[in-house]
Structures are given as C-alpha cells and as structure tokens.
Symmetry: C2
DNA sequence: TATGTCAGGTTATCAGACAAGTCTTGCGCA
DNA sequence: TGCGCAAGACTTGTCTGATAACCTGACATA
C-alpha cells in the first residue's frame, strides 16, 4: 500500500508509475496488467482513479483494454510518436524548433518535386493564387502561408511529413502571429510571394534539386526575418 | 436485442465529437467547455463517460482542466506534436517512415558536428567502442546502433531532434528486429561499424559537411540493406 | 475429439455522495 | 462611494456501490 502525495493528480502519478514498469519491460508487450480491483488494493485508491490512470496509458498508446478481458501492454509499433510541448516558447526554444523544421521542409520540397500528382500541383497553384491579391491582414497572410506549405507536404505522398509539418508549422505560425514581425505587412507579403513562387515553379518543373534550394532559401529568409541566425552551410 | 455493428466506446465517440468543435474553432482557445453536468444532459450519459471523454482530450493536449474552475480549450502551442501510428507497418509505410528519418538524421549529424561539446564527443566515442567487440546477438547490435544515433541527437543540443529521432528510431529498430535482415550478423556488424566510424570521425573533426555526407551514405546503406530503394539525389 | 453451454471474472456504464478548489456576490466598513 | 473580505454557489476530483456487456476457460455431452 503505497502512499502518494497529492501534488499532481492521483491518476497521473499512478499512470507514470505504471508507465515505468512498461517501458522498463518489466511488463513486456502482451502482458496483462493487474485487474482494476487488484490495483485499487495495491495503490489504495478508488476504482475511478485507477480507471483514469489506465485511460491515460491507453490514450498514450501504451496499453489496450478489452471489455471483459483486461488491459494489455500494447506492441511498440502501435504507439503514436509524441513530442511533448516545450514548457516555454521563448526565443531559444523557437530557434530550436525552426532548426528542426528546416530540413523537413527542404526534404518535403524535394519529395514534392519528385512525387507530386496533378491534383497536388493544382492545390499548390491555388495556394499561390491567394498571394496575388494585395495583402489584407496578418491573419490572412499567415493562413495563406500555412496553406502553401501544407500543399507541399501533401504533394510528398508521405503522410508522416503532412502530420509532423502541420504540427510544427502551426506552432511556429502561432508565435509569428504573436510576435507581429518587425517588417511591414506589404514587404512581408511581397517577399513571401516571391520565395513561394520560386519553390512552386521548381516543384511544378519537377526539379527536386531546385526545389530544395529554393525552400532552403525561403527557410533562411524566414529565420532572418524573425531575427534568428542560422549558421548552416550548404548540405 | 443484438447489436451487429460494434460501436466505439461511448466516451471515445463523445471525445471525437468535442474535438471537432475545438478544431473547427467553434470553441477557440481559452473557451470554457460546458460543465460535466451540462454535458451529461446534452449527451444523455453518466458522468463517468463524460469524464473519460474529457480525459482523452486532456491527454491529447486539447483541453486543460482545473479543479473548481472547469475545462478550457488549450492554446495550440501547448499541444504535443503527435504522429498517429500507421495502421499497418507494412513495407510501404516503413519506407515512408525511413523517408522522414533520413533528412533528420542527416541534419542531426551536421548540427552535431557544429555544436557537440566535450561530453557529447565522449559519449559518441563510447557508443563507437561498443562495436569493437565481435558481434554477439541481433539484440545487442540493434541496441548499440540506437545508442550511437541517440548520442548524435544529444550532440545537436536540440531537444526536438532528441525526441523525434528517438521515437522514430525506436520504431524502425523494432521493425528491423522483427524482419531479422537478410544478411549475416557479422556482415551487418562490420558495415555498421565502418559507416558509424566515418560519421563519428567527421563529427569529432567538427566538419558538418562531411558529417552530413557520411550520415546520408549510412542512411542509404541501411535502406538498401533492408530492401528499400531511395530515389534521392544530392540535396 | 469436437462442440455447445455455463459459471466466474473483468471492464464499461450508471447513480449518488462528499471533498477540494474556484469564482461571484453582497455585505460591512472606512 | 469604494474597497476588503467572507459566505455561498458552482465545478472538478475522488469515493462507494451496483448493474450491464463481454470474455475466457472448464465442463458436460455427443
């Protein structure tokens, strides 16, 4: 009968405790966890708490439950890849995130040039067209930017790029929006349009090398615009 | 009364329903969700189900709950990046995952060459040393491989690379382990040792360009060894 | 051996209650 | 009038007990 302090939620503490047993392979995949009743006794809490702890693990993909059968340790391949959010999104953490984003966007541009299909190119052109109108608001501009990069990710034909880039871009856009940039909206709009145009042209021409180079320039430009230095040479 | 179609759990259905409202910005960040009592009435279920649904959203990082106050839609920046597991980890999905891993490992090698500190280089050398002994088992070999790549990720000084590469490598290693490879263990050991050595040397020499090239060769070699074709040229 | 049935165990859901924390409101006081 | 503060309403966290849906394994039977 272990006694838990009440600082974090009871269920969370129990969940992390169980998680260590699973990740330490004390309970290898396929193992059946103790029943809820047994855990109630072991941890000295009510069934509601146990159920919530199990729910957390199930949500994290570490266990699977079957009504009437029990809870089982899931196979590693079934677990989702998960990146914990940075505690504070300060300038340093932001730069690190951008550092992660850059090679992914560059590679996505190259893959898009190789693998894009007709509908992908159409979607890309459509995203480009949104820049033809004069700049309206920071919101509209950011949304158009996101849509363009999303179209590239889709063109890779690789769902992993779509997912991870969507998550990263979304967070970066959020910070940009909050920071408000130091340049005029008109200038930002023009530069983005120009750089996006180069990328779009290279992808449409199915030139992976040019697409990568254009995207790399775009990333470096974006980093510079928001005050980040990238000390990265040619790859 | 027999049910033919098995429906997902009640809590899951309600959770996804709430999720659509959040992602459609019907409830923008900061909004307070209806109270548990209100939802009980709206959906006609017990409080336990509502609480499980909320718990799912909380685990997904979409809402935050505060005792006595309520449940609130979380800021996008606070949400963890999450990659859903592929339904089936077949050869195609595996290739896509490798496609994502390659640019990340290449960039990590380059950043490691730029940013590695003394302890990082020591850890790298230690990981290399594990290959000096003759091959033992497939398990030991895979573990040493993972440790080497983990050491590189740490040397980037970028926690995002550490997290995402750890998650991806772990899953790839799992598949490799299951597939058992087509080459002899001795041959695999020798090749891995040779390629890792080149990477390690480039990083220790603080030569980012050479580190990137060596890692790219290593990735291509690994892909070829497990039967994947990479149609990727120089970046 | 093969098969159908049943009993026991397990999770899913329901219902009601109290504890702990938060927010609002109104009252007393300066 | 304006401010401080405490009481009370409200909300989530935890506990308790019960029923329904479901799974597994043993057992009887042909």
């Amino acid at each position: 009968m272990t006694e838990f302090a009440r600082v974090p939620q009871l269920s969370t503490r129990i969940a992390t405790h169980l998680q260590t047993r699973i990740e330490a392979e004390t309970w290898p995949p396929g193992t059946r966890l103790p029943t809820e009743a047994q855990m109630m006794q072991e941890f000295g809490v009510s069934r509601a708490v146990i159920r919530e702890a199990i729910a957390q693990l199930r949500n994290a993909g570490l266990v699977e439950t079957r009504q009437g059968a029990g809870a089982f340790v899931a196979a590693p391949g079934a677990r989702p890849i998960r990146l914990e959010p940075a505690q504070t999104m300060d300038r340093r953490a932001f730069a690190k995130l951008y550092e992660l984003r850059t090679p992914l966007e560059v590679e996505a541009a190259g893959l898009a040039a190789q693998n894009a299909r007709k509908p992908d190119l159409a979607r890309l052109a459509q995203a480009m067209a949104r820049f033809d109108v004069p700049e309206e608001s920071i919101e509209a501009s950011v949304a158009a930017d996101l849509e363009f990069h999303h179209a590239i990710a889709l063109a890779t034909q690789n769902p992993y790029f779509v997912q991870v880039l969507a998550a990263i871009s979304d967070r970066i856009a959020h910070v940009i929006r909050a920071a408000r940039a130091e340049m005029t909206l008109a200038d930002l709009h023009a530069r983005t349009r120009s750089e996006h145009g180069a990328i779009c042209a290279a992808i449409t021409a199915r030139d992976p090398q040019a697409a990568r180079a254009a995207m790399r320039a775009h990333m470096a430009g974006g980093a510079a615009r928001i005050g980040l230095r990238q000390k990265q040479g040619p790859t």
